[in-house]
């Protein structure tokens, strides 16, 4: 898999270069100084950042035409924009990789794609400040981006796998055969090793559907992200933030009287320490999900960065001879990332169960 991934990622990287070249061409027409660096050659940082960030199209590779021009081979994705009460829907191919602007509403709204972000253009141009930051306003962007498409794909995949599992019991009896031989131990693992020990026999039933969904959602998306051309969904701060927010809401909504009493007026320490403890505990309510968010985001993103860095070595050294080293390292990293994919799903679910467990348990100890 690592080999395959490095091969395809190589294609990706090869493909990525011309994109920046095109951006440079666009930027040269701007009044502000061009920020794209690709004129000077290969910039690993830019390429890697481009890969781990979201995109408005699902890009595979670039194809060179005999006349020297290059075109991207990519799946165009729907762009959904909301500007001043108007909803504009079109395909990302309309931007032609940022070379064209899209005009809607009889010329009242002109959209421009710049570094995978959509802005409202003024006369087909972008305004930059002296640091190269874009000054134009951005519309409310609800597009089906690469991450959203990957999210939908993973949702369908999860539904397919687990509804097939559930139907298997109805059709083929209670003995877990085939797919169920794989899924059932995992489901029972989440139930018996994560939910029951942390939540207790009397509470776990209520939270088990959320924990199971969380575990498989994170795991499957981690692994989809490892696939060549896969989206970096679980390494996206928006996704990890929302998962952490769900955990935060569930934890505090189901908090028992005992849980809140422990936070507001902790029994045990002397009275003058108690207000300090209250402040610490109140901060703790937020730091717990915050750590969940950062942990998953950082782990997955870092993994992607390392894998891409090893591949970039080939282009930095401009030599094929370095590729065996790259391939060995990438292979090693990919195997490690497979472990991390499962491990991070486990840790996120485990900690969520622990936080909820702490909140729902009464003062029995």
């Amino acid at each position: 898999m690592g080999l395959l991934k490095s091969l395809v990622a190589t294609c990706l990287l090869l493909a990525a270069n011309p994109i920046f070249a095109q951006d440079t061409i666009t930027n040269q027409t701007d009044t502000a100084a061009a920020i794209a660096p690709s004129e000077k050659g290969f910039d690993a940082g830019e390429v890697i950042m481009h890969h781990i960030k979201d995109s408005h199209s699902w890009h595979f590779y670039d194809r060179s035409a005999p006349d020297g021009s290059e075109s991207a081979v990519a799946i165009p994705l729907p762009i959904i924009l909301y500007t001043d009460g108007h909803l504009d829907i079109f395909m990302s191919s309309a931007f032609d990789e940022g070379k064209k602007t899209v005009v809607r509403g009889g010329g009242s709204r002109e959209y421009i794609l710049h570094h995978d972000k959509i802005y409202l253009a003024e006369n087909g141009q972008l305004k930059h400040d002296e640091h190269g930051a874009v000054l134009n306003e951005a519309p409310l962007d609800l597009s089906i981006t690469k991450n959203v498409a990957s999210l939908m794909l993973s949702a369908i995949l999860l539904l397919w796998i687990f509804i097939a599992t559930a139907n298997g019991y109805k059709k083929m009896g209670q003995v877990p055969t085939g797919l169920r031989g794989f899924t059932e131990p995992l489901i029972l693992f989440v139930k018996d090793e994560i939910a029951v020990p942390n939540l207790g026999e009397e509470h776990y039933r209520k939270y088990l559907p959320y924990l199971l969904t969380l575990f498989f959602f994170i795991w499957v998306n981690n692994m989809l992200g490892l696939l060549p051309m896969g989206a970096n969904l679980t390494g996206n701060i928006a996704v990890t933030m929302l998962l952490a927010v769900f955990t935060f809401i569930i934890t505090n909504v189901s908090g028992s009287k005992h849980y809140w009493k422990d936070i507001m007026w902790m029994p045990g320490p002397p009275v003058f320490v108690k207000p300090i403890m209250t402040v610490i505990e109140l901060i703790g309510i937020f730091t717990k999900p915050f750590s969940l968010m950062i942990r998953l985001f950082a782990n997955i993103t870092a993994g992607h960065i390392i894998v891409l860095s090893f591949i970039s070595l080939i282009f930095i050294f401009k030599s094929v001879l370095i590729s065996p080293v790259s391939i060995v390292f990438v292979l090693f990293m990919d195997v490690l990332e497979l472990l991390v994919a499962a491990l991070q799903a486990y840790i996120f679910t485990m900690l969520t169960a622990m936080y909820i467990g702490m909140a729902v348990k009464g003062g029995e100890e």
Binding site: V148, A155, L159, Y169, L188, Y210, L212, T213, I237, A238
Partner: protein, 164 residues
């Protein structure tokens, strides 16, 4: 900074899709799967329990069978013994009865013989007496046919009587 700035679009779709996913999976996957697993756990427990019970029952049955066999054997021995005793007794009794019968018959036969003998003797006596009388009559008739002889006899008898 882009990397740690959540995009509104992705937030929106993630909330929507994740919540729908939780709902659909909970309804169509987790609930049936967990129910089935629970049911199966119960079935296995029941099966194990019933197997254990059956084993115990079997052991009980076996012991009971052995007890019954033992009793049956004892019963058989008793019956055989009793039969033998009965047989011996019957034989003994029949022997005694037969002996008594034989004795009775013998006694009766003897008595009968005695009676017959006596009767025969009596008849013989009677016949002898009547024969004697007849002979005496004939002799007398012949002896006393002349007068001389009659007188002699009378004298003789008289003489004898006088002597007495």
């Amino acid at each position: 900074m882009d990397l740690v700035t959540p995009q509104i679009g992705l937030l929106f779709w993630t909330v929507l899709i994740f919540l729908v996913l939780v709902f659909l999976l909970a309804k169509f996957a987790w609930k049936p799967i967990l129910n089935m697993v629970e049911e199966r756990t119960k079935n296995i427990e029941d099966a194990l329990n019933s197997a254990e019970n059956a084993k115990k029952e079997m052991a009980g049955l076996k012991a009971e069978n052995e007890q019954i066999m033992k009793e049956a054997r004892a019963e058989r021995d008793k019956i055989v013994r009793e039969a033998r005793e009965m047989k011996d007794k019957i034989i003994e009794e029949s022997k005694e009865t037969a002996k008594a019968e034989a004795d009775t018959i013998l006694a009766q036969a003897r008595k009968l013989i005695d009676d017959e003998k006596r009767a025969a003797m009596n008849e013989l006596k009677d016949q002898v007496a009547s024969l004697s009388i007849e002979i005496a009559e004939k002799i007398l008739t012949k002896e006393l046919s002349d007068k001389k002889k009659q007188a002699e006899l009378i004298d003789d008898i008289l003489q004898q009587s006088n002597l007495n």
